[in-house]
């Protein structure tokens, strides 16, 4: 399994999202679940715009991933309740102005962990070449003209870049197993993920509902 730091309490996270936002998300949850208490994977099929998203599978998967739901066990949950829904949404909450360095760092790590879990589909804590290829193929799946070969070679090239960044000069007998979370952190160093990975919960248009 992947190394876990001290787990923040879910209720503290929920407080970080304002009550207005919770209300709105609750309404959305009810729409998705069709007034049931839990959501299953099938409920996500009712979102029309999500169909065109090439990595739809991974996004839906992320909602049910037990690692994201901060549960001790591994694997996939069958259904999630509203609290779990909120937990997932809290990964996308905006940065608060009064956060100090340590909080910011933890904030950033949480978000990157979420993304890491999306890449690492077999839950072994490493992104192997095969998983990376999988990601690239899905990303490029919307393009009918592209051969599978190209997708694979792109993934291979990217993996080699990752190896160069993370391990640098490799010794004669070193084998690069895959991208660990630390390596992943290194690669996202230049990018402000904590400010970009944020969905504004204000100004929601209720036209975007599911049928």
């Amino acid at each position: 399994g992947c190394p876990q730091g001290p787990r923040p309490v879910t209720s503290v996270l929920a407080l970080a999202v304002t009550s207005e936002q919770i209300e709105h998300l609750h309404r959305r949850f009810k729409q998705l679940s069709q007034d049931q208490l839990t959501i299953r994977k099938e409920n996500f099929d009712s979102i029309p715009d999500l169909e065109f998203n090439p990595i739809r599978g991974k996004i839906v998967h992320a909602f049910f991933d037990k690692r994201n739901l901060r549960q001790e066990s591994d694997g996939l949950a069958d259904e999630i309740n509203f609290e779990d829904f909120l937990t997932i949404m809290s990964y996308f909450r905006p940065i608060e102005m009064n956060m100090d360095e340590e909080q910011l760092d933890r904030f950033r790590k949480e978000k990157l962990k979420f993304l890491f879990h999306m890449y690492d589909s077999d839950h072994d804590g490493k992104i192997t070449l095969q998983e990376y290829r999988n990601v690239v193929e899905e990303l490029l799946s919307g393009n009918p003209h592209l051969e599978k070969e190209s997708a694979r070679s792109i993934a291979d090239g990217a993996m080699m870049e990752a190896a160069s960044i993370c391990v640098g000069q490799m010794g004669p007998d070193q084998v690069y197993e895959g991208i660990t979370f630390e390596d992943f952190l290194k690669m996202w160093q230049g990018i402000d993920i904590e400010t970009k990975m944020h969905v504004r919960f204000l100004n929601v248009d209720t036209i975007a509902h599911c049928y």
Partner: protein
């Protein structure tokens, strides 16, 4: 704009170019001045050196002229000759600066160019006793400004621009209005104090002055920000503001100018002014977009005559500019919109060579333009059209600074509520400090009709002082300030495929989550636009339309680049045998586990590096039995090395480096 940042080779013998250059420049200028003076005084065609008598005006039949062995006919070539001399002068000055490689990092080029201009202006003034009439406002607006804006618009990072569009628009429109009215009214207040002797300047004149001096200038911003490398977000905010505020500057300037000339002002005129703003802005953008599409469409059919492809890019963009100017719309916005529209589609239609030509020619034109503008500003400063008034000038400067700072601060508090990434105090400070004035207000002030503005000279002096202050003091000190405040700098890394993959992945995640929440964010609109673009626009405007992924195009670009680099650095033809030798010594290097490596080898040998295959024949003779396996490993090693090199590479443009570094690794 990157050509100016190139560090020259640290060669030891550096001729003292700058002092030697000055007499050359002086000679050129004096020569031009003198030639003009002499030509004005004499009859054309006749020369002092010619033999024979000058032809008499009546041209009597029997007074023949002998054949002139040598004639000097300056007026015939006067205009092109002078233009060429000026451009030559500007370019020589640029060479001069870059010979001292420390100089451009301390003092921005714009300052040095203005100084050169001042010097020249002084020389010409001394030679002719009148102000050199070089910078005509028409010349500036019609010939010198468009190339700079075109270059900036063509290479603008569109994605970042549109992400920050709201903020940019807010600063440009509301900020400029705030500044204009604030400066105008406070100056009027100062003028009311009779001790300063300014009471004859009316409120409207002050407002007009305020409107022309509040415009942040794109040329100055580009010149200064280019060297300090702040992060792209800040750069796009200041630069975008300087481009978009043209609309409001045009409107306010014309508005107040007409008001000054009208006897009574009715409410309807104010509404007309507001409506004018929308027409100027939106009209300019529409013209630009329309001509951009026409240009893209035209390039769809140019595959048989590749040679004139670059011409279309320049013609259509210039056409958009002057069409907008014809209707008194915002030319800057038109040409920017045209360039941004054209860029996407033209890039796919034209050949590689044409693309390179377009890029270099654009940069060359904009570089020359910018140099000329600053030199002319210096030259035009020297002269007799100045009127100094301590109060007016110093208060103008003071108010410009105060209102700009206040404006940025207040506006940012409001816009931060709507932004995903709030702007910190550091950002605000840099935005306020980076509000440089330049040639646009300079030219606008020269355009004021002297009949309506009896104190025009005072305005000119004040504008010049403000420009000099912002360009010199703010331009020179912004770099140490940026370092002192530890503003985030741009990290110009090589574009990596993995980064592109991450970015795209992330976009999709964000869009997906937004869809789940039922929230329409930026990503939603961007997605919608992309779908529309793919369905209709690309099919219409691009010749061989294949839906392309940015990941694939980037990957292909990088592959080509690597292959070219390797071929250029001679790696492929030079080092085959030594590589095979070192292969033995280095042992097996496994970047990935063996089964995976098997796969990669397969793919790599199949898909990539056709160039390598051709030269592999050398290796066959010196390689042992397992030729296929060795070949593939070799490719892998080379690729890894080159990747590492490229990742380690800083922004230097020297070409010698790859051969040295890589062959050192091999030996």
């Amino acid at each position: 704009m990157g050509s100016r940042g190139r560090p020259p080779r640290p060669a030891a013998p550096r001729p003292p170019a700058l002092p030697a250059l000055l007499p050359v420049l002086a000679a050129l200028a004096a020569g031009a001045a003198e030639a003009r003076a002499t030509s004005e005084g004499q009859l054309p065609g006749a020369a002092a050196m010619g033999t024979g008598t000058p032809p008499s005006p009546s041209g009597t039949a029997f007074e023949e002229t002998r054949l002139h062995v040598f004639t000097l006919d300056y007026p015939h070539v006067q205009i092109p000759f002078e233009i060429t001399l000026w451009i030559l002068l500007a370019s020589l000055a640029k060479i001069g600066f870059h010979l001292y490689h420390k100089l451009p990092s301390i003092v921005p080029e714009s300052c040095l160019l203005i100084l050169v201009g001042l010097l020249l202006g002084g020389i010409i003034f001394g030679a002719e006793e009148k102000s050199p009439p070089v910078m005509n406002s028409d010349v500036f607006f019609l010939y010198l400004l468009p190339p700079i804006v075109l270059d900036a618009g063509y290479f603008m990072p569109t994605r970042l621009f549109f992400e920050n569009f709201g903020t940019i628009f807010w600063y440009a429109v509301v900020g400029t209005l705030w500044n204009a009215i604030g400066i105008g009214i406070s100056l009027y207040g100062i003028c009311q104090i009779s001790a300063f002797g300014l009471t004859d300047i009316t409120l409207l004149q002050n407002l007009l002055f305020g409107s022309l001096i509040s415009a942040v200038d794109p040329v100055a911003v580009l010149a200064v920000f280019e060297n300090i490398h702040v992060n792209e977000q800040l750069y796009i905010l200041v630069f975008g503001e300087s481009l978009l505020n043209d609309a409001i500057t045009v409107v306010l300037y014309n508005l107040f100018k007409s008001f000054c000339q009208m006897r009574t002002i009715k409410v309807i005129d104010i509404f007309a002014g507001i409506a004018n703003f929308f027409i100027v802005g939106i009209g300019g953008v529409l013209i630009g977009i329309l001509l951009g599409f026409v240009a893209a469409f035209t390039t769809r059919f140019t595959h048989k005559i590749r040679v004139i492809e670059p011409l279309f890019v320049f013609l259509y963009s210039y056409l958009s500019y002057i069409t907008a100017e014809m209707f008194h719309l915002s030319g800057i916005m038109a040409i920017t919109a045209c360039a941004m529209t054209m860029n996407k589609y033209v890039e796919e239609n034209v050949s590689q060579k044409s693309y390179t030509t377009i890029k270099y020619f654009m940069k060359m034109l904009s570089s020359v333009s910018e140099t000329l503008i600053f030199i002319f500003m210096g030259v035009s400063t020297v002269g007799k059209n100045h009127e100094w008034n301590w109060a007016f000038v110093s208060f103008t400067l003071l108010f410009c600074l105060i209102w700009r700072a206040l404006g940025v601060f207040v506006l940012t508090q409001i816009i931060n509520v709507f932004r995903t990434i709030p702007l910190t105090f550091k950002d605000q400070f840099i935005i306020a400090y980076g509000g440089l004035r330049g040639a646009i207000c300079f030219s606008l002030v020269f355009l004021l009709p002297p009949a309506v503005f009896p104190r025009k000279k005072l305005f000119i002096t004040a504008v010049i002082v403000v420009i000099f202050f912002t360009v010199f003091i703010q331009g020179i000190t912004i770099r140490p300030l940026v370092e002192f405040l530890d503003v985030k700098r741009s990290n110009k890394k090589q574009p990596a495929v993995s980064e592109e993959i991450y970015n795209r992945f992330f976009d999709h995640v964000k869009t997906g989550i937004e869809d789940v929440c039922g929230h329409w964010g930026h990503n939603f609109w961007r997605d919608k636009f992309k779908k529309f673009d793919n369905k209709y626009l690309r099919r219409l405007l691009i010749r061989e339309n294949q839906p392309k992924s940015s990941i694939v195009s980037l990957y292909k670009k990088l592959e080509i680049k690597h292959a070219i680099e390797m071929a250029e650095s001679g790696m492929i033809s030079k080092v085959p045998s030594s590589v095979s030798l070192s292969d033995y010594h280095e042992g097996k290097i496994k970047p990935l586990s063996p089964t995976e490596m098997e796969n990669m080898r397969e793919i790599l040998t199949k898909n990539l590096y056709q160039i390598r295959h051709r030269t592999m024949s050398y290796n066959r003779h010196s390689l042992a039995a397992d030729a296929g396996e060795k070949q593939a490993k070799e490719i892998l090693i080379r690729r890894r090395h080159s990747l590492r090199e490229s990742l380690r590479k800083t922004n230097s443009l020297s070409r010698e480096r790859p051969v040295l570094a890589v062959s050192a690794a091999f030996f």
